[in-house]
Symmetry: C2
Subunit: 436 residues, 2 copies
């Protein structure tokens, strides 16, 4: 596989799927941009490498195989595994996953070191992701090597891996705190010896979106191979940085399920796809089995013993819950008013909240219909006021609101005089006699 193939193919199709139907009315819809790969990116899924560096992660062989199979079925392009040099079991697991015959290519992530590379080649992987620190911080405090030594070693390791017929990526670590000229010289040198991808890594999570765009765009002019990017999430920008990298011509994005990794992790698979499905709906929906996302996230969350964050993109419990009155009213008219993502694309459903002090009568009207009751708009407004009055006093559940609606409806069909007082017993409204 030639190093330039991916980049060119990717660039050629980039403008086409930008935007899509959701953006017709936006003056800021991206125009055709031949640099951008937002409509043609590839995912290197690193839950079984970066994710294993998450504080709570301990994946036994069975769990690794289950996760690898699920990611493969989901449609990721690559699955990256922990270096076989990390431990004997890591080596054996790497071999076992290579033997599964998955569609996704299997990579392992190794230090820029001939011993590690040889060990990795023998496991049967499709490619090696080679990494070395290039920032002054890491050169001083980690491996202690200078740039000339790094370049020489990199070329040796790359040529060895290529001689074995495998794919090879060469990445710096902490790229955004490395000297730009050193970095570009190094990438140019490895591009010349035929590396498949060069990698930009925001190892400490310091990069900002426009920095990312500038660096990747500069690099795009220096190398002809593919460009992979890896963003940590310490400052909450990992999804946006990945997006800007694609806009600037990057071809591959590293992800992990729920973003697990060192510290608070990297670009999450689900979050990246939330971003990309809005920009490039056809590409994302045709390529990835989006309805599997929740199942895969649940599998990994269970394996590392965490809860899916309440505000997780797409699968957070309230990602499609609408509460304020004006939101609920518009959503009921047309979901596109307050939803850029369609929950059905992920096998999920929308929920319009109608049991709070912020409830509007349009949401209550819909609920009245769901309960099979009939009321005029004036009556719905009256019962909405009752729901809001109770919600002003204490938190109320759907059952409470339903009871008020049913009780009010009951009272409408009593002749003469004011509605009798209603109390909730066993979740059902019960009419009280005056004596009680």
């Amino acid at each position: 596989m030639g190093g330039t193939e991916g980049a060119n193919a990717a660039n050629g199709t980039s403008g086409v799927s930008n935007g899509g139907a959701n953006f017709r009315s936006s003056p800021y819809q991206p125009v055709g941009d031949f640099l951008s790969n937002v409509g043609s990116f590839k995912i290197i899924e690193s839950t079984l490498r970066e994710g294993e560096q998450f504080a709570n992660a301990y994946f036994d062989t069975e769990t690794k195989i289950k996760i690898a199979k699920a990611l493969d079925a989901f449609g990721v392009d690559y699955i990256e595994l922990t270096s076989p040099a990390a431990s004997e079991q890591s080596r054996r697991d790497c071999e076992a996953i290579c033997k599964l015959g998955l569609k996704a290519k299997i990579l392992t992530h190794v230090r820029c070191d001939m011993r590690d590379a040889k060990l990795a080649v023998e496991t049967g992987v499709d490619g090696l992701d080679v990494v070395i620190g290039t920032s002054s911080f890491l050169r001083e405090h980690s491996h202690g090597k200078d740039m000339a030594y790094i370049e020489k070693t990199a070329i040796e390791v790359i040529e060895y891996i290529k001689s074995k017929g495998l794919e090879v990526r060469f990445s710096s670590e902490d790229s955004f705190r490395s000297d730009l000229v050193d970095l570009l010289s190094l990438y140019r040198a490895v591009d010349k010896v035929g590396v498949n991808r060069v990698g930009i890594a925001d190892t400490v999570g310091c990069a900002t979106p426009r920095q990312v765009y500038d660096l990747v765009r500069t690099l795009r002019g220096v190398v002809s191979c593919d460009i992979e990017t890896h963003f940590h999430n310490d400052t909450g920008c990992s999804i946006a940085n990945a997006y800007c990298a694609l806009e600037a011509g990057a071809t591959h994005i590293d992800t992990s399920v729920l973003g697990i990794g060192e510290r608070n992790g990297i670009t999450p698979l689900g979050g990246l796809l939330a971003r990309m499905v809005v920009t490039s709906p056809e590409y994302v929906k045709n390529k990835y089995k989006l309805h599997m996302l929740k199942e895969i996230e649940d599998m990994v969350a269970e394996a590392v013993e965490v809860n899916t964050p309440f505000n997780n993109p797409i699968t957070g419990f309230c990602a499609f819950t609408h509460k304020a009155g004006i939101h609920a009213k518009a959503i009921l008219n047309n979901p596109s008013t307050y939803e850029i993502l369609n929950p059905a694309d992920f096998g999920l459903t929308r929920y319009v909240h109608f049991a709070s002090r912020l409830t509007g009568w349009n949401a209550v009207k819909t609920r009245v219909g769901q309960l099979g009751l009939e009321m005029t708009d004036e009556q719905v407004k009256e019962v909405t006021a009752k729901i809001k009055a109770l919600a002003d006093v204490r938190p109320i559940a759907i059952d409470d609101a339903d009871s008020i609606i049913r009780g009010f409806h009951l009272s409408l069909h009593k002749q003469d005089g004011p509605a009798p007082p209603v109390e909730v017993r066993n979740g059902e409204p019960v009419e009280l006699s005056n004596g009680q």
Copy 2:
């Protein structure tokens, strides 16, 4: 207060605190940029407005007051409250918070409607955040008004609020799906009648960082008043979008604690400060009581009955945990190698993981020292291999690793022959006789 004052003062100081010591080695350090406000932004904290639209939020008066006082002590510039038109209790709570005499200015968020504005003015707030939907989606499916009507009503409402001596912001809703020319015409018109701030709102969470930069930068050339921005997080870009807005000249950012709000919420207060403290350390550390962050997040998490996400910026349980061998080694030499945030700034501590198959001997060496034991490097490497061997078989806890270290250390001080077998009892290693 003049509308232009904030913008000019903010712009004037912007280049100064950009970057800081952390970035000295980066070629991508922002150079002096007179458009940027990354070193002089203001926070409009909307936990008590946007946050109240979160599915699980029910704040009683006492809780609202507690949160408002904590945010004020933390140092936010503004506290935004639910519209008094939402419910009678909302109105009373608004009055109660205005009477607390906080340093932060109190705002309430109202529809662009004279009745709502009048109700709000009577509560004693310092200012009103006025909002109306301007996208074709909202104009068609929500309020059904045209742009001429919107502009006329906006000017009436703004002039009324100003006549009462209060601050006023005018914002569109769903700005990124609104017609650009309509939007700019409207903002120019309200700027002319002396609005204090105009607001850009990504109501559906569709905006991308470079779109945000372009729109805010364009707007910066059209109005002389301050620019407030509000970003939903549906596609995981709310922090990055806020950052890019500041780079383009925005002056105010809307946040909520843990990002709570409609659907999966908006720019989180903690996440925004994680981003900004890296870029503008002096400004952020001098202005905000960062060590209060965890306490405030815990308070809100408890009030809305959610857990702090495992990967929350700064306060996620593993945000400062280092696990992989090469990371741990470098961190022990110099924390800046793999940390862009200093946990001490937030009253938190770093943790180097030394109980996994990815453990390196440098982390174990540090632990040996913490346990008050003495070993040569060769001995540390030997005990590291034992820890990794056990971690290859099952997940191990700190206690397990400590037991292995202590047991190994014990064996070193036995004369002759191999180390006796060691078993863990009550958390302490116990040497076994051969008979057991």
